[in-house]
């Protein structure tokens, strides 16, 4: 069908193609096939030559295929076959097995009449990949649904914790208070002491519940990302701390820092970090608290540093867990929720947080803010 030179070029081009290629005449007879046909279908080129192209198609499709084929000869165009209509196509191997294929059709007009150029690609691997992607997506969707349900349950749980656990505590504290007043006249010191313990225990449990609820609010909060002037927030917090204990000699060294993040959440985080610094420097004669930033390996690392009591780095892994405390309540009061809250805020921003410290050497908290940071 070609001149000798043309034919050589044509042959080598067709053999170089990764797909099986067959050329079919107007009656559906295979007039040419490349060697990939063998790899895909198991037939040698010679075995398919002069055979109807339906030899390569599962029997259940052959009637339909003949109709489509004659229709194509009448109005040929370059197009993918079947898949355009969302149909899956299958090839039939010599051994009778089937496999998924994709076919592109191009009409060729030659001296010997109209021919159809068919490029056949084995889609087995792609179909498998598609199938596993679909399965993975389905699994993700299911897991996501489960998470949404779990989150709702948690929300309901924290609501009932707040309501139901605080109610008996109110009764314990309130009636102890009334008893305290009644007993004051009898001045039974021991009894009054016990009652005061009952009350402070109830109040402490109230604080724990409140802090736990705050933590769960942070976890569930939706983020609103804006530019946040951390220095301004820190100045305000500094002002509050000075007002709380005006007798303390304390210096705040606050660098100018602007970040992108959720202002409410970042304020909560900074408040906890500065309150912590303030608390653990309370036994200092002079307090120095710093807020600053450094550039490190292409990211900005922010820090809050104090010159307080510090802690043993052996316990550093406990630092950010809820209810974890590194100091006794007598030395420093607290519920152990503060740093867990800070860590959640930082993680929600896609950042990391860590600390460096040593006993009596002060503490530095470092954090990054992920991609939101400017």
């Amino acid at each position: 069908m070609f001149s000798d030179g043309d034919e050589k070029l044509f042959q080598s081009l067709m053999e170089a193609a990764p797909d099986a290629i067959v050329i079919v005449d107007g009656h559906g007879k295979i007039v040419w096939a490349n060697s990939q046909v063998h790899a895909l279908f198991g037939y040698s080129s010679a075995q398919v030559l002069d055979q109807p192209v339906e030899k390569l198609i599962p029997e259940r499709y052959t009637d339909k295929h003949k109709q489509h084929r004659s229709h194509y000869i009448d109005s040929p165009s370059v197009r993918p076959m079947g898949s355009a209509m969302g149909r899956e196509l299958f090839g039939l191997r010599q051994d009778g097995t089937e496999f998924p294929i994709a076919i592109s059709l191009s009409p060729l007009t030659t001296e010997s009449g109209k021919l159809i150029f068919c490029d056949i690609r084995d889609m087995t691997l792609q179909r498998e990949v598609e199938k596993s992607i679909t399965e993975l997506n389905q699994r993700l969707l299911t897991q996501n649904d489960e998470l949404v349900v779990m989150n709702k349950e948690l929300e309901a749980f924290s609501y009932s914790v707040s309501h139901d656990l605080r109610t008996p505590l109110r009764a314990i504290d309130g009636f102890s208070r009334v008893l305290e007043e009644e007993l004051r006249e009898t001045s039974n010191e021991a009894c009054l002491g016990y009652l005061s313990r009952v009350r402070s225990a109830a109040q402490r449990m109230g604080c724990l519940i409140d802090d736990l609820l705050k933590l769960s609010r942070i976890t569930r909060a939706d983020m609103v990302i804006n530019e946040v002037n951390l220095s301004l927030v820190a100045r305000q917090l500094e002002h509050n701390l000075h007002q709380q204990s005006p007798e303390r000699i304390a210096e705040f060294a606050i660098d100018s820092i602007k970040v992108r993040g959720d202002e409410r959440l970042l304020t909560v985080a900074l408040e906890n970090l500065l309150n912590n610094a303030w608390k653990f420097t309370s036994k200092n004669r002079q307090t120095l608290i710093e807020l600053g930033s450094v550039e490190q390996e292409n990211e900005t690392v922010y820090f809050v540093r104090d010159n307080g009591v510090g802690f043993d780095m052996n316990y550093a892994d406990k630092l950010f867990g809820a209810f974890q405390r590194l100091h006794s309540d007598e030395a420093f009061s607290g519920t152990g929720i503060g740093l867990a809250t800070v860590a959640r805020v930082i993680h929600k921003h896609g950042g990391r947080i860590w600390a460096e410290s040593a006993p009596n050497q002060g503490t530095s908290f470092y954090f990054t803010l992920g991609r939101q940071a400017v």
Binding site: S158, Y159, S162, H163, R166, T167, P168, L169, R170, A171, D173, G174, F175, S176, R177, V178, R199, A202, Q203, M205, G206, L213, R217
Partner: protein
Amino acid sequence: MKDRVILLVEDNPDDAELTKLALSRNNLRNEVVWAKDGVEALEYLFGTGSYAGRDVADIPVVVLLDLKMPRVDGLEVLKQLRADPRTAIVPVVVLTSSREEEDRMRGYSLGANSYVRKPVDFDEFVKSAGQLGMYWLLLNEAPKD
């Protein structure tokens, strides 16, 4: 002239007793009518059921309303009370147990006049009861006969 009553709607007897104690510690001498749930509160306000025949024109000086109650909850009481012209203007102080509850209530914008969060610390509760008492009692002098 008799002082108007304070209507306390609270299902928990401990909280009810503590609220009464907190009010009396602030020298608020108004009679406290205790409704144990929303049904009782509505019966009192509209003179039905166990309060059939009560003069409903004699409205409370303030309603202290707990939210989570069996049968009819605080939200529903507030809705019905605001919908009825006889009680639409009664000051209502919602007693909440948590910030979440308060936020949620504000979201409904049903016209609660203020919110008091019931703290665990009784002294704090006495303090806020005193503040809310002063505010509502001074602001809501009994109507002249």
